[in-house]
């Protein structure tokens, strides 16, 4: 579908360009968020796994990723019509819903492609927190690229492309609760189980080496998340404003609820708790941001803060070393947000959405949300297992560093550098 440049709206275009930059900034934010939580000898390894995604995924997205996510009108995966960015300067994908989605856009197709590129960059980066301190860098490189093409692009097609089966069916996901958070969360769980625990976990203490870095990263994530959620309106309009406000309220409420429950659980109000709560709220509001209004984001955030607080305890109960709580925060938060949308969605906020159970829409939307969650869990879980299994067999040295290298630290053994040269490790 050729874009009619007479429809171009400068305000919309400016906003989505800025939003794309904000979303890109989230990846270094995430790197610091995680980097502060690992031990000093692994800090560069963590930063590098995240930063590398900005390199590899940007290229892959231009070569095939965007086309597999948005090309064609297939239900389950795109095609190669936009491979190598062919025609993307002037063409949007065909819109099987008529003019509702791509037909209504007022930004150049390249802006849309670039905005989506940043989502593709950060999604696999989320996984790095779960597998901290023990994956070989070269194994991560292979996993990152294959996962992006084989898992991220198809799921993005299902949910973000009007041709995708979930989008077409009416399951809602404003900015990536399923595509980003559940997708990365379940992949993290599978990879954690396959890689095994960090040597010494949970007996040996592995406290964060720099919570100030983590707090800075949280601030960058929160800031960038306005681009993630409000940018997903794809217009500089009232809906973007609604998503912006919802994003902030949910993060705020989740931070407060996490701290409250942490205190009630007999502890102190911790900075790591504040950071974790804020991110949990941001995750949960992501699918809901442009479909709910009023005080719903406060409720969604508050519920997410409590749910994720208990979510991070799962690893102790079941004995999987989700090192920095990607499953507890992103998987649990993503599921909570995606399902709560089935209750709180309000068509008066967004006519393109639906009414949830609390707004007279009955249980239909909740059912669709449940199916969307389950489909993402199964598809991403199985494909992640296959990719990791094949890589473990094919790559010399497998997925995991040797115990000796793990002890010496990823910084020195994977990158020949150290994060802090004056520090005793």
């Amino acid at each position: 579908m050729v874009f009619n440049f007479k429809l171009l709206n400068a305000g919309d275009t400016a906003w989505v360009l800025i939003a794309a930059a904000l979303v890109l900034f989230m990846t270094p934010g995430l790197a610091l968020f995680y980097g502060g939580m690992v031990r000093a000898k692994h800090v560069l390894g963590m930063l590098m796994q995240n930063f590398f995604s900005m390199g590899l995924i940007s290229i892959l997205w231009a070569v095939v990723g965007y086309s597999l996510a948005f090309g064609g009108t297939g239900k389950f995966i795109g095609n190669f019509e936009f491979a190598g960015l062919k025609d993307v300067a002037t063409m949007f994908p065909m819109d099987p819903k008529g003019t509702v989605f791509f037909g209504a856009l007022t930004i150049p197709p390249l802006v849309f492609m670039a905005y989506q590129m940043m989502f593709a960059v950060i999604t696999p980066a989320l996984i790095t927190g779960a597998i901290a301190d023990r994956m070989r860098f070269s194994a991560w490189v292979w996993f990152l690229g294959l996962w992006s093409i084989l898992v991220y692009s198809p799921v993005a097609h299902w949910v973000f492309s009007p041709a995708g089966w979930l989008f077409h069916w009416g399951a809602l996901d404003f900015a990536g609760g399923t595509v980003v958070h559940i997708n990365a969360g379940i992949a993290a769980l599978v990879l954690v189980v396959m890689l095994g625990k960090r040597t010494g976990w949970p007996q040996r203490p592995m406290p964060p080496h720099s919570l100030p870095l983590t707090m800075l990263g949280t601030g960058i994530l929160w800031f960038g998340w306005f681009g993630f959620n409000a940018g997903s309106a794809l217009h500089a309009d009232g809906l973007a404003a609604q998503a912006f406000v919802n994003t902030n309220l949910a993060a705020a409420a989740a931070m407060l609820s996490w701290l409250a429950i942490e205190r009630l659980h007999g502890g102190h109000a911790t900075t790591l708790g504040a950071a974790s709560g804020a991110v949990a709220g941001l995750v949960a509001i992501t699918p809901c941001a442009g479909f709910v209004g009023g005080l719903a984001p406060i409720l969604i955030g508050a519920i997410a803060g409590v749910a994720c607080f208990f979510g991070i305890m799962l690893k102790n109960r079941f004995g999987f070393d989700d090192s920095l709580d990607v499953i507890g925060v992103h998987l649990v938060g993503g599921i909570v947000g995606s399902l709560l949308l089935g209750l709180f969605a309000d068509k008066s906020v967004n006519a393109a959405g639906a009414n949830g159970l609390f707004f007279g829409g009955g249980g239909a939307l909740f059912g669709k949300q449940t199916v969307a969650v389950l489909a993402t869990l199964v598809f991403s879980g199985v494909l992640t297992f296959v990719i990791a299994k094949v890589l473990d067999m094919v790559l010399t040295g497998g997925l995991r560093v040797s115990e000796e290298d793990e002890e010496a630290g990823l910084d020195l053994t994977q990158h020949s550098e150290v994060g802090y040269s004056l520090q005793n490790q």
Partner: protein, 112 residues
């Protein structure tokens, strides 16, 4: 000659330094160290996971002096470093066989 060694709470360093200077001590060396005694360590909590940190940060202070000065310096340090709470540290005195000043080659008490 003697060496007076003290392990003290880091925030008491300024008080101890001033007290020792009052006695006319010409030089002292400090090191940031970690350790535990009866105080043991402390507990840190990250996302609900409790970690016991055994080693507490302390400052180690060393002074070399004449035999006759050692006890006075030790008592002065004890006085300045005491808070009365657990974890105040220790002071001990050891013998020093020989000492030289590197610049001039002076030996014995002249090198102090």
């Amino acid at each position: 000659m003697k060496q007076v060694v003290a392990i003290i709470k880091p925030f008491k360093l300024d008080d101890v330094k001033a007290a020792v200077q009052e006695l006319g001590v010409q030089g002292l060396t400090i090191t940031e160290v970690q350790g535990y005694g009866r105080q043991r360590g402390h507990t840190e909590v990250y996302r609900g996971a409790e970690y016991t940190i055994d080693f507490v940060p302390k400052v180690k202070l060393e002074v070399v002096c004449e035999d006759s000065e050692a006890e006075g310096i030790a008592l002065k340090i004890i006085d300045a470093a005491r808070t009365g709470k657990i974890g105040d540290g220790k002071v001990w005195v050891t013998s020093v066989d020989s000492i030289w000043r590197i610049r001039t080659g002076e030996a014995g008490p002249d090198a102090l």
